[in-house]
Symmetry: D2
Subunit: 349 residues, 4 copies
């Protein structure tokens, strides 16, 4: 940490800062400038937080220098991690294609979407039984009945299931049916939910809050990790900006930024970022090329009747183009298909 | 609703839109332009949502024209509402000053802060027993012990209590001790929590999500109202922008914008918006002058040792300046002190 | 400046930083932490910029600690300045009301608007002869003919003229007719124009770039000051955010933030920030209460036919309410009407 | 255009709108809803702008439906364009790699950087002789001397030159030395400059304003096109958001969004978007995969001593990786190297 004194700070003000820091066992290095004095702190950063240095007289600003997250950082865990979901890897060597309908509407629609996803090369299936909606008048999901549909579709297709949980009280029932629990963008800072999925025993897909910085997102992952669950996969899904042409702005740079600082895998959701079907294929290509560990995409057998986010769901020609990109581009950036690895790991030939 | 067809849309595409709209009992008015055709929809908007018109061939865009919220709108409730909290009004004729520590740390600190608040003219006390924190390593609040401190401080000072609830499972115990439940900025879209406070029987202070549009914020209020609770007070507390000089950017315009469209009262939190003590007094003045129904401010007997948000807590001279502003400015914009009204309502002279 | 080394930095990397700093006559204080080393630099900051320290091996980040602006800073000029425009002050003790049409359309319209402005209490007149427009198909202003209208209206009303200049090549002719040159939001970073108005011999009204940080805005003022012109008045006019209810988000906090760090006067433009007539009066009230040195507002005798920004121009009842606020509120925050001071300065009673 | 009346609008209010529209030769279709009436306008949109409908009584909002740009739109020019720069194409079938130093500092540095660029596969050279800088105390470029260096380096390497012009008065001299004129992010809305480059007879590289919407950017291109110059290439270079990990947020979605609506070529500048060397290669890969028509990248023989943006300039291993990506990825998305096409066009084998 670095403490920057104001130009008006007195020697007593500086001495008080030093004294406090030393009082909790830290060291303070004073650099006296022409206009300002700065104090560099060395020691246990958590102990410094309690000092409330920013409130002391003569203190202008306090800059944190090191990253605030620990368990999810590469600092003490330099190798990037692989998270296994129902036998399918998500990690640095593979590329994992996840697809399915935004919302589970019926057994038939879910099965058909899962079969479309599988045919296009997906190795994990997504589908929402609980939907957080901005409007209380919008479709809120089928709940437990939706979870049961997902279970039976997994049975039929062999695709492990990724599904969202929106309330800490639902974590046990969702964990019973799902292979991976998704925490959605609106719940990224719902700390009770983060702790609950941290104790669920299931891998977690943590979407970025649409207005969260990368650091806040990694702190949310830290909440999960702190409860003993390091099987966290991050998902970039667009951030809120001033640009109206897309629903959100896909922050493609977040992929290499996260990979430089955290060992957790990171995938991209182009469907929710764009909110427009015609952008899903080019953005998926960009995600593969930038080095993402996977993509998650909306497909629906009949987008015109979808109860949720129909305008962004793929089918027909776009899905074929996506399948082709997912087959051809990952090898060009040194990635193996996650399905191949999963089959090998399972001893299947 | 207005449906805008693409320039390439065929007559069949237009006919399909009309047919769907009429299929649910609506009327469709077709305006054929030189380049594009637009279709105006008249009828029950909720029935149109299910049509998924944006997914139909030839549809370029669908614009909603009317507001999506109902219970909190002024449309059928033109008079602005007053919400009573422990006998104190928050509404269009009064100005309500709420103050207290960000976090309840101890009985002594809370009592002292409440007495400071009362001496400065506050008629409601704030204080957090549950703190949602970005870092899992930061102070998370005293929980039930904190609620008990708040109860006893209300006993001692006569100030009704506003306190935050962060988890739907805690709503009953918080409602037992508090006069008003606060939903914080990070939980504005935590729909399970919104529904729980909607059923709590207590008035709710709903902070704006730091990245929520005003419309999303009013939809969150609609979630609460839909559960039968119309005693909702909105609180503008700054939005996330690119400007680093303040923690968030206080969106002062939100006050008249909300008042034009919703009947709910709206107050301002300058402390959390700015994150800087020196801005709290000028921003409080601005809030009064723009027509806010109240302000909520951090005070702390010893900001240097505060466990949470010390740098923004007022004391001494700044608190005196704030007390003065709160006494002098509201009458200049036609407002009566809420405390005076509360005493009159209670038959006290 | 503080240089933060990466965790992997070697002793040689640190030594290289120290050597470079000392090579230009600076001092470097090394603080060796558990994980990272930080180096505090003391000396002439401009000489450090050329060192390109961020590119050296082992350097993670370089934080500037002091403000980059000098001439406009309060550091060596602690008293806030007053700028005089045609005999009217804009500064810390007064409140200056500027009004007029967005665009000069005709002699009759400009005169009528100026008379409305004067009747409402304005002491300076605004009006645009050159209009920067997003669309090349929109009205671009009357040019020199518009300047001549402004001159004649000043003659008729006695109100000094504030008008925008959009091209460095036009500065001489605009300076000939205007009492104050306005640099608009789209030109805040047009450095050639800033230098030209810096040499114009006229006071300058520098609007904030709609996406400029406060620091960038003050650097733009520094460009003007560097050419010998310290008669710069800043104008907050809203910043671009995700909120669609207003055209831009008025950053009301910018007023006290600027006043804390710069000696230049600062006024507020609520009309362009909001883009909505109904918000102009409450936002003007907020501007006065927060401590702005003035406001600048659009008025138009017939907004329905205005060629530019009609929807935000005041007339009738709103203008009366604004006139009342401008009369009553400044004294409540310790300000004198600029017109009174101007008359006293001119020896008029 | 669609005019939405307020719920309180009277029949007279609606009639007045219709009358005005018909008065300029348009047609108005009235749709009377339960709560609101909407009026669809058909006819010449430019004539409607002058009506100032938003200022009429009873009008709540006016929505533009069609795009405001014409010459740069695909509507009447469905095929995407190719712009030729010194014999090198930028367009839909090729991939063009542009590289060079941010600033021209000396003949030796520029030549060395150009040779690095050429060796890595670049077919156009960039380099700035005029630098728009936030601080008046920063290096502002060599001016005409820099242009002469660029000319001689083109002579030596055969690479056509792209260079920035920051002031309309400099357009003739820059056009004399450069093959393509760059308009930088800070000048995107400098309409005088746009018009000047529109008359320069040179192709223009138009960077997106860091806070401009895509529509505003295309309107800026329209300014250039309106002066008879359709040889405009757009360059996405990151937008300002709340995320601090990168200097700006590369809006990768802008590439397919622009390509869907405008026929102009579009390239990507990952160096200035990220501001970090380690992101340039992954973001360049993403740009190729998303379908960009080219990339423009900073290289410098000695980033440690660069006078401008050293931290983002590539050399050594990163440049090799970039060269490899630029060779291998474009064919995977159906693109030919622009250099190959240039040589064929020139009859070179």
């Amino acid at each position: 940490m670095v403490v920057v004194m104001t130009p008006e700070a007195t020697d007593e003000d500086v001495a008080r800062v030093v004294e406090r820091v030393e009082g909790v066992g830290g060291e303070a290095f004073v650099s006296t400038g022409v206009v300002r004095t700065i104090v560099g702190l060395v020691g246990d950063i958590d102990s410094f937080h309690g000092l409330n240095l920013r409130s002391l007289p003569g203190v202008g600003a306090v800059h944190r220098i090191s990253d605030p997250y620990k368990l999810v950082s590469r600092q003490h865990h330099p190798d990037r991690s692989t998270v296994w979901v129902g036998g399918v890897p998500i990690g640095p060597d593979t590329f994992t294609f996840i697809a399915g309908p935004c919302a589970v509407e019926s057994a038939a629609q879910t099965l058909e979407a899962a079969e479309m996803a599988k045919a296009a090369g997906a190795t994990l299936m997504r589908g929402g039984a609980y939907k957080p909606r901005t409007s209380p008048y919008a479709f809120q999901g089928l709940g437990v009945a939706g979870l049961e549909i997902l279970s039976s579709v997994r049975e039929a297709t062999g695709l492990p299931v990724v599904t969202e949980v929106v309330d800490a009280r639902d974590v046990p029932v969702v964990a019973e049916h799902a292979d991976m629990l998704q925490v959605g963008t609106r719940n990224m800072a719902n700390f009770g939910l983060l702790q609950a999925v941290g104790e669920s025993g299931r891998p977690v897909l943590l979407k970025r809050g649409m207005t969260a910085t990368i650091e806040e997102w990694l702190m949310a992952a830290e909440y999960i990790a702190q409860r003993g669950n390091l099987d966290v996969v991050l998902c970039e899904r667009g951030i809120r900006t001033f640009e109206p042409a897309t629903r959100n702005t896909l922050d493609i740079s977040a992929v290499p930024v996260v990979q430089a600082t955290s060992h957790l895998p990171i995938i991209v959701d182009p469907s929710h970022a764009a909110g427009r079907k015609d952008l899903v294929v080019p953005l998926s290509r960009a995600a593969i090329a930038v080095g993402a560990d996977g993509v998650i995409v909306d497909v629906h057998p009949d987008p015109e009747t979808a109860l949720c986010d129909g305008p962004q769901a793929l089918l027909g020609n776009e899905l074929r183009l996506l399948a082709q990109a997912v087959r051809q581009l990952p090898p060009a950036v040194g990635r193996v298909d996650a399905g191949t690895v999963a089959r090998e790991a399972a001893g299947v030939r």
